[in-house]
């Protein structure tokens, strides 16, 4: 199956193309530290570049997979709008993929994921920086992220640092924590026994090759139902609800 996948949930723009013969080509853009994400300007050039190198067009694809987050709202919308547009134009099946699940899968499959190869981590915790001092996090038993039939140990959620600590402490084993949020909340996570790969480990980065693997086993979803996993209401809605709650 030929699958085009991309993810714009983090500052990175990650793209992958699985050609059905087992080969997966990837391309990515990571902004300089502190620079704006390049989702709008990078995504389609990277996509068209990969297709060009493979010598195929959109019409030769079997599926499109898109990372639906959680992550940055504007980034997610650029990715999902692009995926929906391509899918609509070419009538291609569309598969939404959890960015957290894809992160966990990458770690599960990396040979160097465990510090101790004799005793690999039993749990993988994917954490993304949710801004506002919060984290988006989810956890799977090692190996479970690859199987859509297996439920996560921790459902994806937006968590305060305190709630994150409590959620990690409640896991059946100390996890391997990965993702930009694992670095952002390193102190809190280490305090509850999580192990975190070095700052420059590729495990912290979203790799769309994982989306390709997941999209091969996940069912496509009706196009209009593919939306970002925001996991958080707009600020204006939160403010309104707070105001309503304070009213006598």
């Amino acid at each position: 199956m030929r699958i085009l996948a991309f993810d714009t949930a983090t500052a990175a723009t990650a793209v992958a193309l699985a050609l059905g013969d087992g080969t997966v080509a990837t391309a990515r853009h990571d902004p300089e530290p502190g620079a704006r994400p390049g989702h709008a300007s990078q995504l389609l050039p990277l996509v068209v570049g990969l297709l060009g190198e493979a010598g195929i067009g959109f019409a030769q694809l079997d599926r499109i997979a898109v990372g639906v987050g959680p992550g940055t709202f504007t980034g997610l919308r650029i990715g999902v709008a692009t995926a929906r547009g391509l899918s609509q134009a070419q009538d291609l099946p569309l598969v939404p993929v959890s960015t957290l699940r894809a992160l966990a899968l990458t770690a599960d499959e990396a040979p160097a994921a465990a510090t101790d190869p004799e005793e690999p981590d039993a749990v993988t915790l994917a954490v993304l920086d949710a801004r506002r001092g919060e984290a988006f996090a989810a956890a799977w038993a090692r190996g479970a992220a690859a199987d859509p039939a297996l439920a996560p140990l921790l459902e994806p959620a937006a968590l305060t640092p305190e709630a994150l600590e409590a959620a990690v402490a409640a896991l059946p084993a100390s996890p391997l924590a990965i993702g930009d949020g694992a670095l952002r909340f390193e102190q809190q996570l280490r305090a509850v026994g999580a192990r975190i790969p070095a700052d420059d480990s590729p495990l912290h980065r979203v790799d769309a090759a994982a989306h390709c693997r997941l999209a091969a086993v996940l069912e496509p979803v009706a196009r209009d139902a593919v939306l970002p996993a925001y996991l958080r209401l707009p600020d204006a809605e939160l403010a309104l609800r707070r105001r309503d709650a304070e009213r006598p």
């Binding site: 919308r77 709008a81 692009t82 547009g85």
Partner: protein, 338 residues
């Protein structure tokens, strides 16, 4: 045939327009979800655009009796507007165009409002004057030709603070009419005396610019002076006088522009077009029709934000061939001189 998308504010729009400016379809999905917040919330608008764009595009193609494979180019509003909202349209348009290696035409939203006057069956040929007044913009300009390059459109005046539609909405809020209140204020004003109260109509503002912030403050003070009971009793008079001040502010500038432009040959002074949501206001139309017998008023659905006007503008902009537009970004504020 051009398929256009417009998502700069809170209307999700798609349209199909022919090269001759014939509207084959013009679909507008007004989100109507912002009333509870008392204004358009960018994040809420962006979420809704993403939900609606696919269906709106499909609807526009179906109503036009065509398919993506048959359109010649895709146009999209690039800016100015809410950047998160614009990006949904830009990403969608780029993807649709890339899938068929179609050319893409990025359009400035204000060029779109001008180009609404170029649409069939009653196109207005430049040169003419145009007043664009909405919740997002208020400007008076001379349209020299159909394009959007240097010299195509000359800005004569603009608001120094609030847009005219914003002034209507703020006035409506002060009178307890909710949001968006422009239409409600106009309705209430029908039963009032426009000369009951003298509100400032920006005579001191230099050149052909306008200002509405003083007007809003004047209404606030007037309501306070009258006291709750009296202000409530005279709401219709307050609404009528407030509306009158906005109409006069705009009409005077148009009058001055006409006099100035008409100084020479006189030929270009006779035609005026209007656009933007405030162009739907009855008293404004009546007042301007007195000034210009040949007032050009596009249909209401072409005055408020729509994609047919974006497609119309795209007919006069050089299209970007595939793949040169793949990295195209949106812009929030006016990046050109206008």
């Amino acid at each position: 045939m051009i398929l256009a998308l417009e998502t700069s504010c809170d209307d999700t729009c798609a349209a199909v327009v022919t090269a001759d400016g014939v509207i084959r379809s013009n679909v507008i999905s007004s989100q109507g979800v912002h009333d509870r917040y008392g204004g358009v919330v960018p994040e809420v608008a962006s979420r809704h655009h993403l939900e609606l764009t696919g269906a709106v595009v499909e609807d526009a193609l179906a109503r036009a009796g065509t398919t993506l494979g048959e359109v010649d180019a895709i146009a999209v509003t690039q800016g100015p507007g809410l950047v998160g909202a614009l990006l949904v349209g830009v990403a969608t348009a780029k993807a649709l165009a890339a899938a068929y290696a179609l050319p893409l035409v990025p359009v400035d939203h204000l060029h779109g409002h001008v180009a609404a006057s170029f649409l069939a069956p009653d196109p207005l040929e430049p040169p003419f004057l145009i007043l664009i007044a909405s919740g997002g913009h208020t400007l008076l300009a001379r349209v020299n030709d159909h394009g959007w390059s240097e010299g195509s459109i000359e800005l004569l005046g603009r608001t120094l603070d609030d847009a005219a539609g914003e002034a209507f909405d703020k006035g409506a809020r002060l009178l307890g009419l909710g949001y968006p209140g422009g239409a409600a204020l106009e309705r209430l004003a029908r039963d009032g005396d426009p000369h009951a109260f003298a509100f400032p109509s920006g005579a001191k503002v230099p050149r052909l610019d306008v200002s509405f912030s003083g007007l809003k403050t004047a209404l606030l003070y007037k309501v306070r002076d009258l006291g709750e009971e009296e202000a409530d009793r005279r709401r219709a008079d307050l609404a009528a006088s407030f509306q009158h001040a906005i109409v006069e502010t705009l009409a005077r500038r148009v009058e001055q522009a006409l006099a100035r432009e008409g100084g020479g040959s006189g030929s270009r002074s006779e035609r005026l077009s209007i656009g933007g949501g405030v162009a739907a206001n009855g008293p404004l139309r009546e007042r301007l029709a007195q000034l210009v017998p040949d007032l050009h008023v596009p249909a209401r659905e072409l005055c408020t934000d729509n994609a047919a006007m974006i497609a119309s503008a795209a007919r006069y902009v050089a299209p970007l061939p595939f793949p040169s537009y793949l990295g195209l970004d949106a812009y929030a504020t006016g990046e050109r001189a206008l």
